[in-house]
Symmetry: C2
Subunit: 248 residues, 2 copies
DNA sequence: CCGCAACTGTATATAGCGTAAACGCACTTG
DNA sequence: CAAGTGCGTTTACGCTATATACAGTTGCGG
């Protein structure tokens, strides 16, 4: 994300762009009458950007690359999308289509919330760039994103927790999935092996500075795959929530 | 983060840069003998970049801005730092200086781990860009980062959990702090108010699509400040860990 | 003490980015 | 059929990281 060319009146521009960005996300755009037919749609553009990001990462998605995908110039996209930030927002919405149906996961809050987390996890796995895309500055939430949020909150309704508590639990679970996806996204086989080799060598040389870490590595804390990270974290969190419920 | 100019031999270059980057982080650089005295150090450069990022955000930190801070040209920095990614790594290390001392927090694993989380939280609060800086592609960990990790793992040693479990718990807590800092970093007073206004209007129009969300907002789930997010999440997680310990 | 080698900083150049502005042209509606 | 609107292009600007070539400074070995 590079800076805008003319930063003057940036605030005004941002403020006025917000509604149009929202309208775009909610599909509340009225199509024009008196001109040539548009050859593209914001959705088609977003879809192309998504496949591009899936293949080569978010950082290689540029207006130019997306435009050439359609055989048009980069500036042509600006007829459909206000700017790149809005395009990324559309990408997120595109990927979150198909809001989750948790009714098949069982009736308990725990089963449903767990299912929600696993579904979210799968989305992150399928589109690793989603993390970086949602990690940027405060973006507006589209309907699909809200639908996911709604599903999680709905799962928490039978718990008897207060609204504030339910919201916090939602944030907790969502954050856990995110942070785990983060790790996974960082994980690159070759690079990681090389890093591990060099770091372990350094650790040997400085083992007195990091006793607990050295011991943990010696005990195989990093190499053992006995624990599924997602389920482990989720079980701890949901156990903790259960404690809270029982206490009330 | 823009692309490199000449992507050829990128792999070779990356592989060969990794050790030099590590050497930089660990301060294992031997100073030269036969030239003009260096006017800068990697650490001073990183420090300037940190204050810049603290003031105006990570995305405005450019080689040029940092260089002019010292009154030198941008290219001069490349005498001390291989590239921008390495500079960011140095920034992270600079900010994580002063590894935590948890012995004052009490003797129990829970008190110590909780103290660790709060300290980490404060670092994120003081340097909001730290999130984005560590969220990028797999970076190598410097000694300070490892020291933080070591402290958390040390706090978990008296729990009786397996090494793998302790590692997972560490990841869980660290992730929780991260994801919470994420939210906080996204939070911008003005922008958020505007967003809330527009979104709530949209929610009113589509309340049937998001029943649980609408209800949650009506119940004040988002406006009430009764719960401290960090403590709430931490209490749930640590309760869950306690359950695991008791079960063993 | 001198010259070479090593080292620093600069100037220049390249490839890429997002996007503002102006323009020709195709098309649809009056 | 003419009007005029909206599409797509071309051009240009300011910004990014960084490769390369060079000029200036310093200290060691002969």
């Amino acid at each position: 994300m590079t800076r805008a060319a003319k930063p003057r009146e940036n605030k005004d521009k941002k403020a006025r762009d917000l509604p149009t960005g929202i309208a775009l996300l909610w599909g509340e755009q009225d199509q024009p009458a008196r001109g040539p037919k548009p050859s593209l749609t914001p959705q088609r553009i977003a879809q192309a950007a998504v496949t591009l990001a899936d293949a080569e990462g978010l950082e290689t998605v540029s207006m130019n690359k997306v435009a050439t995908e359609f055989g048009v110039s980069a500036m042509a996209l600006y007829r459909y999308v206000p700017g790149k930030t809005e395009l990324v927002e559309l990408m997120v919405e595109a990927v979150l289509a198909g809001p989750p149906d948790l009714s098949a996961a069982g009736s308990g809050w725990r089963a449903r919330l767990s299912a929600w987390a696993h579904l979210q996890w799968e989305v992150y796995q399928a589109h690793p760039w989603l993390l970086a895309a949602t990690a940027m500055r405060r973006q507006i939430m589209g309907p699909h994103q809200l639908a996911w949020m709604d599903a999680a909150l709905a799962a928490l309704e039978p718990t008897g927790l207060t609204a504030g508590q339910r919201h916090q639990v939602f944030l907790l679970v969502a954050g856990q999935v995110r942070s785990l996806a983060q790790q996974r996204a960082d994980f690159d086989e070759d690079h990681n092996r090389e890093w591990g080799r060099l770091t372990s060598e350094l650790l040997n040389r400085h083992s007195d500075r990091f006793p607990a870490l050295t011991k943990a590595i010696a005990d195989g804390a990093f190499t053992s795959a006995e624990l599924d990270p997602l389920d482990f974290g989720l079980d701890r969190i949901l156990d903790g929530v259960q404690v809270l419920i029982d206490r009330a």
